[in-house]
């Protein structure tokens, strides 16, 4: 794990971070807003044994989704995420799951188990330094950040309009019934069609990301 990845571009990180805090807070995000650049990252360890850097992402669209194995809301919407990734196969879209929490059940060993158990069909990395999460203002899981070819933020928020939680009974409970608005899918389709994203920000609902004090 390279915990010093941001040290490689400290000035850029500081400038981007300061501008973001000063000017770009979204409606549901205290750090960045739509149009913000994707922060660079390097050598984040993945559940498949590889590591990932932002420079490796060549697809037209990059979706960063913040996850936490332990979170019932993540577990409740895992199926929707996996289905969405399947739907975009063959298109120039790359999904990257990011785990940020330091609790044992959210760390890499547990991530590997979780990814296998739930059929994760995307790269799932551990942001142990929490720098990527902080730079994006990610505070809930699951929370989506969709970037276009220019690596500017085009959408952030929830996957759809009916947050779902896995209960103690193992069943998935959709809070508002069957979802009717698929925000991330719609954003991707609009971006692939060269259209502006019609709904660019929603409030992600889920567990809070636990940042080190």
């Amino acid at each position: 794990m390279d915990q010093n990845r941001f040290k490689r571009t400290p000035l850029l990180a500081i400038v981007v971070g300061s501008l973001a805090v000063a000017c770009f807070a979204g409606e549901f995000n205290t750090v960045i807003d739509i149009g913000a650049p994707m922060p660079s990252f390097s050598n984040l360890p993945a559940t498949d044994g590889s590591s990932l850097s932002s420079g490796q992402l060549k697809e037209d669209i990059v979706v960063l989704v913040f996850l936490a194995n332990h979170c019932p809301w993540v577990q409740g919407m895992d199926g929707d995420l996996v289905k969405l990734v399947t739907e975009t196969k063959g298109k120039s879209v790359r999904f990257v799951g990011v785990s940020v929490n330091h609790r044992e059940d959210d760390r890499l060993p547990a991530m590997k188990e979780h990814a296998q158990k739930h059929g994760y069909n995307f790269t799932y990395v551990f942001d142990e330094s929490q720098q990527l999460g902080r730079a994006l203002g990610a505070t809930r899981t699951p929370e989506y950040f969709v970037f276009g070819k220019n690596r500017k933020l085009a959408y952030m928020g929830a996957i759809h309009d009916s947050p779902a939680r896995r209960g103690r009974d193992g069943e998935v409970h959709y809070t508002k019934g069957t979802p009717t608005a698929f925000h991330v899918r719609d954003a991707i389709q609009e971006m692939l069609a060269g259209k502006p994203v019609s709904v660019a920000e929603t409030r992600a609902h889920g567990c809070s990301v636990e940042y080190a004090k």
Binding site: A25, T139, R140, R168
Partner: protein, 218 residues
């Protein structure tokens, strides 16, 4: 206190304004509520009169109880508590850090209640899932949480919207006029609140003479 500066952000201001609007409208809308004790569930709504709320009709100290309130009813409960410092702990059983912080909140309640500070818990568990409600009640019973415990009787995402919450745990502290003066959240990754922030906020308010009343009898 770093977390306090959340209140000054544009984002928080928008949500605060939204919350105030709900307070204004909520005061005029009162319906029935459900009281859930550790052993029984009552669906009988008591007669609604101004200031006749669960806070005044339930003996919170005798046994652990959980009272369902819609958002308008919650606003009414807060209104009824006006006159002293009120600390609201927003939590849920699905929120691991909430469960971890809860005992400290109760410990603070024991120390500050004699000085006129009211500690209240507001559960954001799934009102449509009986198992979730039972889990919340179990937890409160295990904690021996003999404080006013409420469960928001709204669809969870709607409850978050109406409370202006992005995530939990979150602590709201009201002064004797019923004004939210501290909104301690994890909304900003770089300004996460701590138990010490809660403690410090209460200490400062009590020290400034903002408590305004003696401990209330049930």
């Amino acid at each position: 206190m770093g977390a306090q500066s959340n209140m000054r952000s544009d984002v928080s201001s928008k949500r605060l304004c939204a919350a105030l609007l709900f307070v204004v409208f909520g005061l005029s809308a009162c319906g029935g509520r459900e009281t859930e004790s550790s052993s029984s569930v009552s669906t009988t709504a008591p007669p609604e009169t101004k200031r006749s709320t669960a806070a005044s009709s339930v003996d919170w100290s005798s046994e652990v109880q959980l009272v369902k309130v819609t958002h308008p009813q919650w606003v009414e409960e807060l209104e009824a508590m006006r006159g002293g410092i009120v600390v609201v702990d927003n939590w849920a059983t699905w929120c691991a850090p909430c469960l971890e912080r809860f005992p400290h909140m109760l410990e603070m309640a024991k120390r500050w209640t004699p000085q006129g500070v009211t500690f209240v818990s507001l559960s954001l568990d799934d009102r449509d899932d009986p198992d979730s409600i039972e889990q919340a009640r179990e937890f409160l019973r295990q904690q021996d949480a003999r404080i006013p415990n409420y469960l928001m009787d709204e669809i969870i995402p709607d409850a978050f919207d109406r409370l202006g919450l992005l995530g939990i745990p979150a602590v709201f502290i009201y002064d004797s006029k019923g004004t939210m003066v501290h909104r301690l959240t994890g909304d900003d990754p770089n300004r996460q609140y701590t138990e010490e922030d809660v403690e410090e906020a209460i200490r400062a308010m009590v020290g400034a003479g903002l408590k305004g009343r003696s401990p209330r009898s049930p």
